[in-house]
Symmetry: C2
Subunit: 168 residues, 2 copies
């Protein structure tokens, strides 16, 4: 298994969380947890399974989904709906948000400017006054990433085939 001390710390932390709720400590849970921490990056369920495949070759996708959902409840990961494509699970739990390239779908983190978190808290407070009890606020920026911006000119010049769905 090749455990580093950081791994063992992460294991202990997860074990404590699971035990506290009367849940079992299993290999999928430990290994997925380790991989999430190793990556430190929002991943899709499929990516998580690939990351885990070396340690647990036979792990099933439903188990990955169940585990990630459990982690979300435990507060270990945040679910990120980033535009098109699969849902992401983000092991970063500190205040940050995401940008999504509408061309290639790439998702990146960005740290909110100092005023943003304050404004979001105000928004949550405002919503609470209308009856909605918000417990999280997510910001998603949509646009073009650096790479896709480079090829933007070509795309916008394409004669539009206007087929099924305009273009894209």
């Amino acid at each position: 298994m090749n455990s580093s001390s950081a791994d063992r710390d992460a294991d202990a932390e997860l074990t404590a969380l699971l035990r506290a709720r009367g849940l079992r400590v299993t290999s999928p849970r430990l290994v997925i947890h380790r991989q999430l921490r190793a990556r430190g990056r929002h991943v899709t369920a499929e990516e998580a399974r690939e990351a885990v495949a070396r340690d647990l070759p036979g792990i099933s996708l439903p188990t990955v989904y169940a585990t990630l959902e459990l982690f979300e409840e435990l507060g270990i990961v945040r679910r990120v709906h980033a535009g098109r494509g699969a849902v992401r699970y983000d092991p970063r739990t500190d205040a940050h948000h995401h940008s999504v390239c509408r061309r290639c779908g790439r998702v990146e983190d960005f740290d909110g400017a100092e005023g943003l978190e304050r404004a979001l808290l105000a928004a949550e407070a405002g919503a609470r006054r209308t009856g909605f009890a918000a417990d999280a606020a997510a910001v998603v920026l949509t646009g073009l990433c650096e790479d896709c911006r480079a090829t933007e000119r070509e795309w916008s010049r394409r004669p539009r085939p206007a087929g099924r769905a305009a273009d894209r």
Copy 2:
């Protein structure tokens, strides 16, 4: 067809937009546009089809998707990814955001506090400095709507079956 003058205005506006881009003015486009305006509310593709069914009983879902995607490009609707479930298309194009109930999935609008839009613009500017050219910022609040909050206590007391996916 029973056109009101508001309908005709909306028709004329859409017609101008389409013509300006060399696109054709078709019944699905006109009718979906009218229904979106009549509802004034983010709808799913399926909801849009239902709303349009009286005027165009045979309309297909692929056409609805294509039309909504076209409208997005024309700036008539905004695509809203609101957590679980289908994508919504929002005919409101002014600055506002959305709250999603994580129990029942209900999506509601909320108007950003005065400082929020400013903070989002600052965030976009910050992202641009890292190479990401943002052209839109969406805020999604997650929490419990008024109705679901009323039954919250019962839910949290449920003995957790801990089956497939913890609970929910």
